[in-house]
Amino acid sequence: MSRRVKKSAVAAGFLAIGIAATGCSGQSATEQQGGGGDGDGSGVTISHWQHQSDARAKIVQDFADGYDDASIDVQNIPYESYFQKLGAALEADTGPCVFQLPANILAEFHDRDELAPVPESVMSAEEIESSFTPASIELLNIDDEYYALPTDVQTLMLFYNDDLFEEAGLDPSQDFETWDDLVAAAEKLTKTSGDKMIQAGIDISASPYQWFYSAPTLAYPEGLVADETGDVEYDSEPGYQAWDRLTSLVTDNAVDDPEFLAEQSKFGLGKAGMTFKEFTFTGVYQLTAPDLNFSVHVAPPVTDDAAAPVASTSWSYAVSADCEDQDAAWEWVAHLTSEESQRVWIEGGGELPSRTALLDDESLQGDSNIAAGFTALAEAVPYDSRGWDDAYAIQQEIWDEITLNGTAVEDAVDKGAEAERELYRTKGLLE
């Protein structure tokens, strides 16, 4: 390159810095655009964001079309881009009135002063507590106020391929009593040809998170995060045991192999005896694998002396603190989570009700798989990590370190727990 060009590059650098310096002063004043505006009839328009799902999009749009008290502007955002869109909107104050958040990071958004509490006039705390299951609302209560109403409650369940169970001489109608029983069955269900796996006992390596969310959460009486300290505690017994047993499925018991049908749904393809998934996968398998003959069960406790049998994850509908018509927005959310609406949700596919009253309604439980999901929900405790994808990344790394890198369980878990603490500190949730 010639000398002049080098000079030019240096000059360009200075120019860029110059422009940058002038740009910094331009702090913009943004206007609120939370909601409001003129809708049809009622005069109130509520913007509503949720992440995309076939069934949910249809159901919510139908509700919106039939809703008379406000005009609802529903936007379905692809899941993988949901937080990008939300982040940009937060910075520009162009966010929606109503939006979906994972229940376990509601506190983080509360800390950012983004949330409006459920007003007494719409639903009092007592009303909320008597209407919804404990697992679905536990994380929505911050400093004695509720900041969201629950949706998309999912229990994490064990799925059997009934045909493969029978073929291996196992009884698909029975729950496993202990972890050892499950491992023994998984070993029976595993098939190899030469040194290659041709059937996995359990489909776990492509999507292990359901289990590493569930097992450490169930291992401690207060869940993944201790109530008092706000700190994770899975870098201790029985957390180590949970991680050890789960990763052993791949490293010791060899009932799954990450390179066998990598990233494919082994269970959906009929190439795995079991899998551990959100309840909604009953609907997913019906659609993607119509010939699959499966049943849904509560998994045996992974650790000795587990504190609860079933873990759940859930989302919630929150209302923005910047929303101009908060009451109208809350009325809409209350409508979406009402008993009548939840009946529609259940029929629409794969959703579990969060209303206690519906759990006892036997007319909704015609199918034994649905009945199993309902029963589990009543005793579920929520996965309560204070992070969402960021915490997930840390826990996935623990899994990968152990299963792919051969790192000792305790070392990987210690490192992960420390990373999760650091994450909480960055978020200002932990000293």
Binding site: R4, V5, K7, S8, A9, A11, A12, L15, A16, S28, T30, Q33, S47, H51, Q52, S53, D54, A57, D73, Q75, N76, I77, P78, Y79, E80, S81, Q84, K85, G87, A88, A89, E91, A92, D93, T94, L261, Q264, S265, G268, L269, K271, E278, T280, F281, G283, V284, L287, T288, A289, P290, D291
Partner: protein, 274 residues
């Protein structure tokens, strides 16, 4: 001698054909998958041909989403981007190629340096800006980041440097104004480069996802890639519908490319020149 040439020829065709098939396989798979049912697509080992050709996926795509509208939006946005990029790039390229002015080379380096900034970094400030300018959910907002393109300026500059300066000078001597020279002499000569740039801008605009997603807030402003993303859920990807939608997204672009490809190659001719 003759026999060797033959062997060389045969191996050449063989090589090119195997290569071409490799290049086409993913596309063929996409089109064939668009006729398959979801369980068929997810089957392992994968099959190539659909059990039966049915258009159910295409029907379903049109039922769940207003693809005609998305297509229209994509066309509008691509058209604005293409016109703007062609105009800004040819003007700036002309200035860099045929004018000498103080700071020219430094400025050109600054322009090229913009290629080195990942879009993900400026997306949030840009979004806040679009919101301040009340451009959210408008076509003007959707095209904002694709109105100007450093690569386009580079391409046009390279091409225009091959236009003889005598042509421009003699027009000046004849009393033609600068704008007239640009419009009636320079632009017509730059047609091949403009064709090449059209294709690149079109591909860029047609594919862009993150920005339209942020800016569009009602489905009537969605573009094709946003429509495509509607079939991806957290627990279930409707790959069957995605492939049908992807086929419909890709095919128009292919047609435009086939129509323009001759000019396109000529337009690239000067990219590597001094």
């Amino acid at each position: 001698m003759h026999a060797t040439t033959r062997t060389v020829d045969v191996s050449k065709y063989l090589l090119l054909t195997v290569g071409a098939l490799t290049m086409l396989t993913p596309l063929i798979w996409m089109v064939l998958a668009s006729f398959k049912t979801l369980p068929e697509i997810l089957a392992f080992p994968p099959t190539l041909l659909p059990e039966q050709v049915n258009l159910d996926n295409y029907h379903a795509v049109f039922e769940t989403a207003d693809f005609v509208r998305y297509f229209f939006n994509s066309v509008v946005i691509a058209a604005i981007s293409v016109v703007s990029v062609l105009l800004t790039s040819s003007m700036a390229g002309y200035a860099f190629a045929k004018f000498s002015f103080p700071g020219r080379d430094a400025l050109f380096v600054v322009v090229l340096a913009t290629l080195m900034i990942p879009f993900q970094v400026r997306v949030i400030p840009l979004y806040v800006l679009a919101s301040d300018l009340s451009l959210l959910n408008t076509y003007a907002g959707m095209v904002l980041p694709t109105l100007v393109d450093a690569f386009g300026i580079f391409l046009m500059r390279q091409y225009m440097m091959s236009i003889p300066s005598e042509l421009i000078e003699s027009a000046r001597v004849d009393g033609a104004g600068e704008l007239r020279i640009f419009v009636s002499i320079v632009l017509p000569l730059a047609k091949p480069a403009l064709s090449a740039l059209t294709i690149f801008t079109l591909v860029m605009s047609w594919e862009s996802f993150l920005w339209p997603l942020l800016v569009a807030s009602t489905p009537d402003m969605y573009t094709l890639p946003l429509g495509l993303a509607q079939f991806a859920g957290r627990f279930l990807n409707r790959t069957d519908l995605q492939m049908a939608a992807a086929t419909m997204t890709v095919v128009p672009l292919l047609i435009v490319f086939l129509l323009m490809q001759k000019r396109f190659i000529e337009g690239m001719a000067t990219t590597g020149m001094k």
